[in-house]
């Protein structure tokens, strides 16, 4: 330790210390001269040897190499700019992707002790629910000793503020929410565990900063003012800060204590009902407790809860924890997407590095003279290698800086476009800088080592390295093009094919009867009346009932076993009119009778999987007592982009009525009947504010995501293939210039253009072929993971593969032919004279 300190001190004071040493030697020499001795030796060399004792020689050499490299690069600005741009693209894409990942999953929320926050979700081998019932939450909160605090969040459909037409998003939370996050109020106060924990406390709410700005004109006197939410008077207690960081980046407009939920939602029983899963549970780990240990304790509690309330707990249920202190909670399923994006962006880096590597090799030939001179005056090959690597490092550093700037600009743009939480900024943090440095070194290894090795050994004329680089470029571009091809096909497919159900003029109306505590009979009566009066509106073609409406907030998936194969099923309850309303065709058998039991309708794909080519009608569903009575068309209403999804439907039972949703098909635009539907609901039950959603908009949103993804990946694939194209132009041009004499002789001997070109291009044939094969294979294997989002396009879609490869070959051919023209226009006489 002391030694390192002395060495560092020497580094800082080296100028002075070297002067002192020189003085010592000077003195020594004077004294020796007095004593009649004069052979002190070479002082410069002695000083160098003394300096070596301090162990900083490598640094001196490195600085020298850097200076030399900088001079070399400055002397050929064209090459330098080109190389830095190519690298900046490759590195920048990686930085941008990581930056996004960093913001979402790595950067801690700016709240108190974000590391001890966890999200708890119900999981069993075949079920998953991100929400649990409020009494279950209370049970866990009161009994778990490994949790220092527990927070419940309950989101409901938008509510009406005063008489405004625009509804506001509302979230009910336990009053410790803000204290736990350490969030102060911008104005007034936040919710408090002492004031707001009881149902009998005076009703209060907090405003989000944007809502305060927009609806209340940033008026500071709103604190204490009474407004109406769903016509219930409530006092504004405070305004949240502008850059408020909420759990999972949810941004409701108003926050209300959960104890007052029954006050706002008339007759609601969700706070006491073990069977309605409605709240998300967040928790803070007790000091020194790991998430794993907490899961252990909670598992024991789940078993206790099962004894008390068997109906509220699944078989083999356990609460699974995820780190909660980030902008988004990443579930295990989502890591697959992260890995996929990482692979794609690394491929881009590979393309840009291979491109630059080839460029460096070609440059190595022109630098032969310089390297020769340096070898002749005593540099060894290791030194040359080191110098070339330093030069590459300098290029990579420049590329990384430009890439970082590029990524920063892109991220700023993206953040401005999307509705990102205010506390998130695109400014790079330590983690991002570290990543940038890591990518920079990775790039140096990718593009710098092989050429430096070849050049240092004066083997830059060997073609094998160049051919391998072409192979790598072609393979990587091929993968990127195929993936973008698949996504483009998926977007097209989603846009231009029938999703299996009608969405153009369909409206879903969710009255949330269960949350208002409607009994079976009351719910039934409301739904009957709604259906009758909605049908009477001119232009309404059909009205149906369904439990989980298309593109709804809740998705229910279940694994069932058919012949030992796991199949993901989307179960639902729907009446006969639902299929008519949604225009889902009945293919065989019949639809369900009202209230019918032990009967099931399945989708065509499920029928095929289950029936083994025989008619499944009249047979039992495996593992149940339900007889298949009908087969309907596939309609992935809640899994639009997953063509492997299958559906099954039961008839709604009387007990299901409070949870049912109406779907309405109209002749004109679905939104046009919304005022009428609202008025009907008001007259039937004034406390109910149904959530109405036209399906067309939801469908378009969902497709737009795929379109955007396809556009981004296509753009990246295009950049990659253009880079590969430019790289090939450079290589062919280089080959042509290297073989000028041979070409001239062939021309002089009367060679025709075509065989001549083939001779020049022969060395590129196998790298291109091998690269394309490799790329296609990789894409075929890797794209299995894309299946879930491809809207039913096969991940081996021949059109996407063929188009990608054809495009790649077209670019390669063009890139090869352009520089060949120079060979054919060669002035034979001059070329031969020159040599």
């Amino acid at each position: 330790m002391g030694e390192l300190f002395r060495r560092l001190r020497y580094l800082v004071h080296r100028r002075r210390l070297e002067a002192e040493l020189a003085n010592d030697m000077e003195f020594h020499r004077e004294m020796a001269a007095r004593a009649g001795r004069r052979n002190f030796g070479n002082t410069l060399r002695l000083r160098e040897q003394s300096r070596e004792a301090w162990g900083w020689t490598w640094l001196d050499r490195f600085v020298l190499d850097l200076q030399y490299g900088a001079r070399i690069l400055a002397r050929s600005p064209g090459f330098t700019v080109m190389a830095v741009l190519v690298l900046a693209l490759g590195i920048g894409v990686n930085i941008a992707a990581f930056s996004l990942f960093n913001m979402v999953a790595l950067r801690p929320l700016p709240v108190r002790d974000p590391d001890s926050l966890i999200l708890l979700e119900r999981r069993s081998p075949d079920s998953y629910n991100s929400e649990m019932s409020y009494p279950s939450f209370q049970f866990y909160r009161d009994h778990a000793r490994s949790l220092a605090a527990a927070i419940a969040v309950f989101g409901v459909p938008p509510v009406q503020l005063n008489n405004d037409a625009d509804l506001v998003k509302i979230s009910f939370v336990t009053p410790n929410y803000f204290e736990q996050l350490g969030t102060p109020a911008a104005l007034g106060r936040v919710l408090s565990t002492t004031l707001d924990a009881s149902p009998s406390s005076p009703p209060v709410m907090l405003l989000s900063y944007p809502l305060w700005q927009q609806r209340f004109n940033s008026d500071p006197s709103v604190i204490g003012r009474t407004v109406r939410l769903n016509r219930k008077p409530v006092t504004i207690a405070g305004v949240l800060p502008y850059d408020f960081a909420s759990l999972a980046s949810q941004h409701p407009d108003v926050w209300v204590p959960i104890a007052q939920q029954p006050y706002f939602i008339d007759g609601s029983k969700v706070l006491t009902d073990f069977n309605s899963s409605t709240v998300r549970m967040w928790a803070r780990l007790a000091p020194g407790i790991t998430a794993k240990a907490a899961e252990q304790e909670l598992r024991a509690l789940t078993d206790q809860l099962r004894l008390q309330h068997p109906e509220a707990v699944w078989k083999n249920e356990a609460l699974q924890s995820s780190p909660g202190g980030h902008a988004q909670v990443l579930h295990p399923e989502e890591w697959r997407v992260v890995v996929m994006v990482a692979v794609l962006t690394l491929l881009i880096l590979a393309v840009s590095c291979a491109n630059l590597g080839a460029l460096l090799l070609a440059r190595g030939v022109t630098r032969q003279h310089e390297i020769g001179i340096r070898l002749a005056i005593g540099a060894n090959r290791a030194r040359i290698f080191r110098q070339l690597c330093t030069e590459s490092l300098l290029l990579a550093a420049l590329g990384a800086v430009v890439g970082l700037a590029l990524a920063w600009a892109v991220m700023r743009f993206v953040l401005a476009q999307i509705d990102a939480p205010r506390w998130i900024t695109a400014a790079p943090d330590g983690r991002l800088l570290l990543f940038t440095v890591a990518v920079m070194f990775l790039a140096v290894i990718f593009f710098g080592f092989a050429p430096a090795w070849q050049i240092a050994r004066s083997r830059q004329h060997k073609t094998i390295a160049r051919q391998l680089l072409v192979t790598a470029q072609i393979a990587a571009s091929c993968v990127l093009l195929i993936v973008s091809g698949l996504l483009v096909r998926a977007a097209q497919h989603a846009l231009y094919t029938d999703p299996g159900f009608g969405y153009e003029s369909t409206l879903s109306i969710d009255p949330q009867l269960a949350q208002h505590g409607f009994s079976e009979s009351a719910a039934s009566a409301y739904l009957q009346a709604m259906r009758a009066r909605l049908s009477a509106i001119p232009g309404v073609r059909a009205v149906g009932l369904v439990h989980l409406p298309p593109m709804g907030h809740t998705v229910w998936r279940q694994d069932i076993l058919i012949d030992g194969r796991r199949i993901l099923v989307y179960p639902n309850q729907a009446d006969a009119d639902y299929f008519r309303t949604m225009e889902i065709p009945l293919l065989a058998g019949r639809t369900l009778q009202p209230g019918e039991q032990h009967a099931i309708v399945i989708s065509a794909t499920l029928a095929r999987l289950q029936g083994h080519g025989q008619n499944p009608l009249g047979k039992l569903m495996p593992g149940s007592q339900d007889v298949v009575v009908g087969i309907v068309g596939d309609a992935h209403v809640n899994a639009l982009n997953d063509d492997d999804a299958v559906e099954e439907y039961w008839a709604p039972q009387p007990a299901d009525m409070p949870g049912m949703v109406l779907v309405v098909r109209t002749g004109g635009p679905a939104a046009s009947i919304m005022p009428a539907a609202r008025a009907i609901s008001q007259s039937l039950a004034p406390a109910i504010f149904p959530e109405m959603r036209p399906l067309k908009g939801l469908y378009q949103d969902s497709v737009r995501h795929v379109e955007q993804l396809a556009a981004i990946v296509s753009l990246i694939g295009l950049v990659a293939v253009l880079m590969a194209g430019v790289g090939i132009i450079g290589l062919v041009a280089f080959t042509v210039s290297q073989r000028t004499r041979e070409t001239a002789i062939r021309l002089a001997l009367g060679s025709r253009a075509v065989p001549l070109c083939l001779a020049l291009l022969r060395q590129f044939v196998w790298p291109v072929a091998l690269g394309a094969t490799l790329g296609a294979t990789l894409a075929a294997v890797g794209s299995r993971f894309l299946r879930m989002i491809l809207f039913g396009v096969s991940n081996l879609d021949p059109l996407a593969f063929a188009a990608a490869i054809a495009f790649l070959f077209a670019v390669v051919a063009l890139a090869a032919v352009l520089p060949l023209r120079r060979a054919l226009r060669l002035n034979v006489a001059r070329a031969l004279h020159q040599e």
């Binding site: 002391g2 030694e3 002395r6 060495r7 020497y10 002192e20 040493l21 003085n23 010592d24 030697m25 003195f27 020594h28 004077e30 004294m31 020796a32 002190f40 030796g41 002695l46 000083r47 040897q49 003394s50 300096r51 070596e52 004792a53 301090w54 162990g55």
Partner: protein, 113 residues
């Protein structure tokens, strides 16, 4: 480099650091005085090559066994004096003990063989 490593003055390899530490034991000296003192004390058998002295002194500085400080030479010139540190004293003891053991062993071999 190799030139400096081959002593022409009969100095056993590795002995110089020990000798330097030893002559500094009685007080701080400048570089020339160190060379002179070793030369004189060895009855002019050992000559310290300047090419070896200064790199060795630097190594002792790196190890922290000696420090350098400004002083005035007997000729009235400003020059650095090298002084033994506490660590250096410890090191000297270690080296002397090691050296004694080795010479004893060599002596034993020479006497009995």
């Amino acid at each position: 480099m190799p030139m400096a490593d081959t002593p022409k003055s009969g100095m056993p390899p590795g002995a110089l650091p020990m000798l330097i530490l030893r002559v500094l034991h009685s007080g701080a000296l400048h570089g020339y005085a160190i060379a002179q003192k070793i030369h004189v004390l060895s009855s002019e058998v050992l000559a310290v090559e300047e090419g070896l002295l200064y790199p060795t002194l630097q190594k002792l500085l790196v190890k922290g066994w000696v420090t350098a400080e400004w002083g005035t030479s007997e000729t009235g010139r400003k020059v650095r004096f090298y002084r033994l540190t506490a660590d250096g004293r410890k090191q000297l003891k270690v080296e002397l003990a090691g050296y004694d053991r080795i010479t004893q062993a060599i002596q034993d071999v020479l006497r009995t063989a």
